[in-house]
Symmetry: C2
Subunit: 340 residues, 2 copies
């Protein structure tokens, strides 16, 4: 799956989220659970990208602000340990904005317009002529986030790989101007499972599609969601053979069931016929409650002391800022911008 | 000429230069001499825009670096007094980059592409498809430079007025989002004489056209430049009537001769006929040497102690940074980006 070198401990990861809504099972499968794994073996920086979230939320900055702490609570809930991972707030590391500012000179407008990820996102948002300059240029900002920490690995979905290429172009251009290796090239770390379908069977779980199970869902919400889950519309009677493919209940079980042997037996039974959806859903519900209950408990614990959570974020941000400031100094020195 | 209110003393001016070459008589007439006047009546911030200079000099950052101190020496030479004006280095006030970064979300790509000043500059530089993103977006950076100091006046040539409009659009948009007056609208202060022709008679004195007299020119260079100066090509014999219009010698005398009565007499004589170019040039040379000799002396004085000049810049930058940091904090708070 990912690179496994003897020097793995030294490798630096940059990852994170835009705080625009609660994190859900899709985020967990696609990235959060990997972060819990990575944090012991890598030096992991986790960015709460509030400034990036503003590039298409400038009309509702309060949404970003409110979700900042919610995302932090989600991180702590899933088991990201702030003593192992450095969790920080993008806007509170001004060096990232400063680096972006210089990187804008290292990328052409035409190149940004050609970026497939940005192109698709512009289309989705219907921006066209109203495209904010900050949205078109956000790959430069992302390059700043990655390079500031000299991250050599960035866990991303396959659709984000062009962003990594864009970052490396900036890295090479800056190093060329500097005449030495100031910045470090990075690599996409694409997970095996990067996407979970929605409970309605649509390809992607997403808050805006209203088909998500949030990590902060209550036990009742989980029960209700499992009830509504898309299974096999052709499986009308218990005795009929059922289909596994496209059956979201089984997709989720694949992702979350710890007893994969038992799951294989259940799948065979379902395909033979004689197994009702309610049994499958019962198993899934147990799995999800098992997964989410300890998260909810941890979330509630941390939620009681938000000042402590803010203190953790402050410490993480302070640590991140020291690293980012060092890189920014190096970049500015390479550009001749250090006088005092 | 410019606004003259009773509250003039409180007004803030932002002005400055891109450090890409030595300043010349054109700069002096168009802006520097006004700065010397303004500095007693206004709070004047003078930016050495090294970061902006990089937007189209990323392949030669060293040129920008070298010229930074030269521009500072030119300022001191013409009589800008660092105890009255705040001279600072753009790149050393990272808050300006940070503000730009957020302003990018307040302006659309289409609006930047429509900006007449930027359009013309892109044409002049032949950028087209290779247009660096930082160049297209530099109006956002200029808006940051102006608004960071809450400058209500920006001395610019007529061609730069669209940049001021762009700044005010950003100001209004930010204030609208904030729901209050965080930023201050600004006004262009267009001088009567904003442009001096080159010694070759071309409309604009410019380093790249090689038709400039630098403020740091030696006495011999001044003599040589005056010798080459474009006068009246139809004025072949001393006894012929000469033309004043388009005659650069007279244009310069208009700008620099302290004895305007004597100058009017000379003009009349020239137009009647019987006055040779050499007499006119002699008068001009005396004027220019009178103007430039004390500048050269001051420049040489400061040039001997560059560490002291850097110390002055450091102090100015420190002062500017305090002001810019306050504004940046206000802008970020308005966007909900203050947590700690």
């Amino acid at each position: 799956m990912h690179q496994n070198t003897t020097n793995q401990a030294a490798k630096i990861i940059l990852t994170g989220d835009r705080p625009t809504g609660p994190l859900h099972l899709g985020h967990y499968v696609g990235s959060l659970r990997n972060r819990v794994r990575y944090q012991r073996d890598y030096r992991q920086f986790i960015i709460i990208a509030d400034a990036q979230a503003l590039t298409d939320n400038m009309n509702d900055p309060d949404k970003v602000r409110r979700n900042m702490i919610e995302v932090a609570l989600d991180y702590l809930a899933v088991g990201i340990d702030p003593t192992l991972s450095t969790i920080f707030i993008q806007s509170q590391v001004p060096e990232l904005a400063e680096l972006s500012f210089y990187y804008l000179n290292l990328v052409t407008v035409a190149r940004l317009e050609r970026n497939p990820t940005v192109k698709e996102e512009i289309r989705q948002r219907g921006f066209e002529r109203d495209l904010p300059a900050g949205f078109l240029t956000y790959p430069a900002s992302q390059a700043a986030d990655i390079t500031a920490f000299k991250a050599s690995l960035v866990p991303v979905g396959a659709d984000q790989v062009p962003m990594i290429e864009q970052t490396n172009e900036i890295v090479r251009r800056l190093n060329f101007i500097a005449g030495r290796e100031v910045l470090v090239e990075t690599a996409a770390l694409v997970p095996e499972v990067s996407r979970l379908p929605g409970i309605d069977g649509k390809a992607k779980m997403s808050k805006s599609l209203n088909n998500a199970i949030n990590l902060s869902a209550t036990a009742d919400e989980v029960t209700a969601a499992v009830k509504k889950i898309y299974t096999d519309p052709l499986h009308l009677r218990v005795e009929d053979p059922g289909h596994i493919e496209g059956n979201v209940a089984f997709t989720y079980l694949d992702a979350f069931d710890r007893d994969q042997t038992g799951l294989q037996e259940m799948k065979a039974h379902y395909q033979r016929g004689g197994l009702g959806d309610s049994v499958v859903k019962k198993r899934l519900e147990a799995c999800l409650q098992d997964l989410l209950t300890p998260m909810r408990t941890r979330r509630e614990e941390f939620s009681k002391d938000r000042a402590y959570v803010m203190e953790l974020l402050k410490q993480g941000t302070q640590k991140a800022r020291e690293v980012a400031a060092r890189t920014t100094d190096e970049v500015k020195a390479a550009l001749g911008l250090s006088y005092f």
